[in-house]
C-alpha cells in the first residue's frame, strides 16, 4: 500500500519536472532570438540593448549551464520577473492563485450539492420527470461550450433580471457581500456542467447498488430503499464526485480559463491570457507550470483515492 503511494508520488514529481523542462525549452525553441522578442521590434533593433537582454536572460551561457541555473532557480521559486511590469512572477502567482482555487473549489462544491441529490432522485424515481430532464440537459450541456452557458446566464440574470453583476471583483476582506455577489455567476456556470455529469454518475452508481441482490433481499425483508441508501450514501456520493473530477479535470481547468476571462475574475487564467497578449514569457512559463502542476497533482490524488477505495487497482 505504501509502495503504491510512494510510487505514485515519485511519478508525479517526475511529471512536474518534465512539464517544467518542456516549458523552459519552449522559449529557446521559438523562432528568433528570445532577447529580441522580449524587447520588441523597436528596442530590439539596438544591438547593445539586445546584448544586455541576452545577458540578463542568461542566453550567453552554454545551454547546459543555463538549464542548471534554471533548475536551481525553479526549485528555489525564483521564477524571474514579468517583462511587462517587472513584478516578480511568484508574487503574481501568490496574488492570483487563491482566486482561481476559490472559484474552482466553490464550483465543485456547488456541483456536488446540486448533482448528487439530483442523481439520487433520478435513480430512485427512474424514468420520472427529473430523470428525463437530467438526460436532456446532459446532452445539451456537453454540446454548448461553457462560456456560451455563462453568456446566457449573464443575459438572463444580469441583463434581463438585473439580479447579479456581470463581472468585477471585490476582495473578500474588503467587502464580503460584494465578493460573494460576484462569485455567484461564474461559480454557478462552472458548477452546472459539472453537476450534470455528477448527477448522471450518481444515478448510475445508485442504480447499480439498488439492483444488487443483497439490496433486493433487504427490501424483501421490508427495509425501504431509503434505508438502504442512507447506509451507502457516503460511498455513493463520494465515488461519483471523485470519478467525475478525475475524468473532467482537463475540461474543468479549460472551463475555469474561459469563465475567468468571461467574468473578469482575477485568477491565474486571466493572468495567463494577458501574459500571452503581452508576450510576457516568464509570466507565461510560470502560469503554465503552476496550472499543469495542479492538473498533475489532482490527477494523482484521484488515482490514489481510487487505490484506497478499490484495492484491486493496487
Amino acid at each position: 500500500m505504501a509502495r503504491f503511494l510512494v510510487g505514485k508520488l515519485l511519478v508525479m514529481v517526475l511529471q512536474v519536472f518534465v512539464v517544467a523542462t518542456i516549458v523552459f525549452s519552449l522559449v529557446r525553441l521559438m523562432p528568433g532570438d528570445p532577447a529580441v522578442l522580449v524587447l520588441g521590434t523597436e528596442r530590439g533593433a539596438d544591438p547593445a540593448a539586445v546584448a544586455e537582454m541576452r545577458h540578463r536572460l542568461g542566453l550567453d551561457q552554454p545551454v547546459f549551464k543555463q538549464f542548471a541555473a534554471w533548475i536551481g532557480d525553479f526549485v528555489r521559486f525564483d521564477w524571474g520577473e514579468s517583462i511587462f511590469d517587472g513584478t516578480k512572477v511568484t508574487d503574481y502567482m501568490a496574488q492570483r492563485l487563491p482566486n482561481t482555487i476559490e472559484l474552482a473549489v466553490v464550483s465543485i462544491v456547488l456541483a456536488a450539492l446540486i448533482g448528487v441529490p439530483l442523481g439520487m432522485v433520478a435513480a430512485v424515481r427512474r424514468g420520472g420527470f427529473v430523470d428525463m430532464l437530467l438526460s436532456s440537459i446532459a446532452a445539451l450541456g456537453i454540446s454548448f461550450p461553457v462560456y456560451v452557458l455563462g453568456t446566457f446566464l449573464i443575459l438572463l440574470f444580469s441583463f434581463k433580471l438585473g439580479w447579479l453583476p456581470a463581472s468585477g471583483f471585490a476582495s473578500f476582506s474588503d467587502d464580503p457581500a460584494k465578493h460573494i455577489e460576484r462569485l455567484v455567476l461564474p461559480a454557478f456556470t462552472l458548477a452546472l456542467g459539472l453537476a450534470a455529469a455528477i448527477a448522471r454518475m450518481t444515478r448510475s452508481s445508485i442504480l447499480e447498488v439498488l439492483n444488487k441482490e443483497f439490496v433486493l433481499t433487504l427490501r424483501a425483508k421490508g427495509v425501504s430503499s431509503a434505508g438502504v441508501l442512507i447506509r451507502h450514501v457516503f460511498r455513493n456520493a463520494v465515488i461519483p464526485v471523485v470519478t467525475i473530477i478525475g475524468l473532467q479535470l482537463g475540461n474543468l481547468i479549460g472551463g475555469t480559463v474561459l469563465i475567468e476571462y468571461l467574468f473578469n475574475w482575477p485568477g491565474m487564467s486571466t493572468l495567463l491570457v494577458k501574459a500571452i497578449s503581452n508576450r510576457d514569457y516568464p509570466l507565461i512559463q510560470g502560469c503554465i507550470v503552476v496550472m499543469s502542476t495542479f492538473f498533475i497533482v489532482i490527477n494523482m490524488l484521484v488515482n490514489m483515492l481510487y487505490g484506497l477505495l478499490d484495492p484491486r487497482v493496487r
Binding site: 511529471q15 518534465v18 512539464v19 518542456i22 516549458v23 519552449l26 522559449v27 525553441l29 521559438m30 523562432p31 446532452a139 445539451l140 456537453i142 454540446s143 454548448f144 461550450p145 462560456y147 456560451v148 453568456t151 446566457f152 449573464i154 443575459l155 444580469s158 441583463f159 456581470a166 479535470l249 482537463g250 481547468i253 479549460g254 480559463v257 474561459l258 476571462y261 468571461l262 495567463l272 491570457v273 501574459a275 500571452i276 497578449s277 508576450r279 514569457y281 507565461i284 503554465i288 496550472m291 499543469s292 492538473f295 498533475i296
Partner: protein
C-alpha cells in the same frame, strides 16, 4: 453499411443538421450577402433589418455574413486537427502495440507526457509562443488529441496481434508491412472511427474557446467563438449579437455528438455480432 446508418434516427437527425452546415462552409462565399470584413461605421450594432438580416456588429459588419464565413476556419481546424491526431495517434499506437519493446515504452511515455497538460493549457502555451492562426491551431490541437487515438490504437493492436489470423499471416511469410496493413489496421479501425467523432467535437470546442479568448483564429477573419468573445462586451446594447453565434455553435456540436453516439450504436452491435 449505409442502409444501417440511415435506419438509425439519431444518425438521420444529425446528418440532416450537419449537411447544410457543411454545404454552407463549402459554398459560403457565394451565399453570404455581404463581405464579412467590410466595415461600415455608420451601421454599428444595428438589430435585424432588411439586407442585414441578423444585424451588425460593433464595426458595422454584417453578422449573418460573418456567421457564414465563420464556419470555415472552425471546420478546417476541427477536421484538419482530427485527421492529424488520427494519423499520428494510429501510427504511434499501432507501432507500439505491434513491435512492443522499446518502441512501446517510448510511445507510452510520450503519450503520458502530452497527457500531463490539460488540453487548453497546452494549446495556450503553443499559441503564446508561436502565435495563433489556422495552421498552428491544426498542429497543436492535432498533437493534443493524438494521445487519445494512440491509446485506443495501442490496446486494439495488442488484442488483435495475438489472434491466430495474424500468426497465420506471419507463418505464411508475410512482411511486417503486409501484416500491419492487411491484418492489424482493418481490424482496429472501429474504435478509432468512434473516437473521430468525439475528437471533432472536442476540437471545435477547443478552437472556439481559444478564439473566444482572442487567441485562436486571427481577426479580422471571423470564427464563431471569436464572435462570441467580441459580442460579450455589447450584451446590453445588442444581445442578439451574442445569441446567434452561440446557437450556431451549440447546435453544430450537438449534431456532431449525436452523430458520434449513433455511429457507436451502429458499429458496436456489429462488433458484438462477430
Amino acid at each position: 453499411m449505409w442502409k444501417k446508418c440511415f435506419r438509425n434516427k439519431m444518425f438521420v437527425f444529425s446528418f440532416v443538421v450537419l449537411v447544410p452546415i457543411v454545404a454552407i462552409a463549402l459554398f459560403g462565399p457565394w451565399i453570404a450577402p455581404h463581405d464579412p470584413l467590410k466595415i461600415r461605421p455608420d451601421l454599428t450594432l444595428r438589430p435585424s433589418m432588411p439586407g442585414y438580416w441578423l444585424g451588425t456588429d460593433e464595426f458595422g459588419r454584417d453578422i449573418l455574413s460573418r456567421l457564414i464565413f465563420g464556419i470555415r476556419p472552425s471546420m478546417i481546424v476541427a477536421l484538419g486537427s482530427t485527421a492529424l491526431a488520427l494519423l499520428l495517434g494510429t501510427v504511434m499506437g499501432v507501432a507500439a502495440g505491434y513491435f512492443k519493446g522499446w518502441t512501446e515504452q517510448i510511445v507510452l511515455r510520450v503519450i503520458d507526457i502530452v497527457l500531463c497538460f490539460p488540453p487548453i493549457l497546452l494549446a495556450l502555451m503553443v499559441v503564446g509562443f508561436w502565435g495563433g492562426g489556422v495552421r498552428n491551431l491544426i498542429i497543436i490541437i492535432g498533437i493534443v488529441y493524438a494521445p487519445h487515438f494512440g491509446r485506443i490504437a495501442h490496446s486494439a493492436t495488442l488484442q488483435v496481434r495475438s489472434l491466430e489470423y495474424v500468426e497465420s499471416e506471419l507463418s505464411l511469410g508475410a512482411t511486417h508491412w503486409r501484416v500491419l496493413t492487411k491484418s492489424i489496421l482493418p481490424n482496429v479501425l472501429s474504435p478509432l472511427i468512434i473516437q473521430v467523432s468525439l475528437t471533432v467535437a472536442a476540437a471545435i470546442l477547443l478552437e472556439s474557446g481559444l478564439s473566444f479568448l482572442g487567441l485562436g483564429v486571427v481577426p479580422p477573419e471571423p470564427s464563431w467563438g471569436q464572435m462570441i468573445g467580441d459580442a460579450r462586451g455589447y450584451i446590453h446594447l445588442h444581445p442578439m449579437y451574442v445569441i446567434w453565434p452561440s446557437l450556431c455553435l451549440g447546435i453544430t456540436i450537438l449534431a456532431i455528438n449525436l452523430m458520434g453516439d449513433s455511429l457507436r450504436d451502429i458499429l458496436d452491435p456489429k462488433l458484438k455480432g462477430r
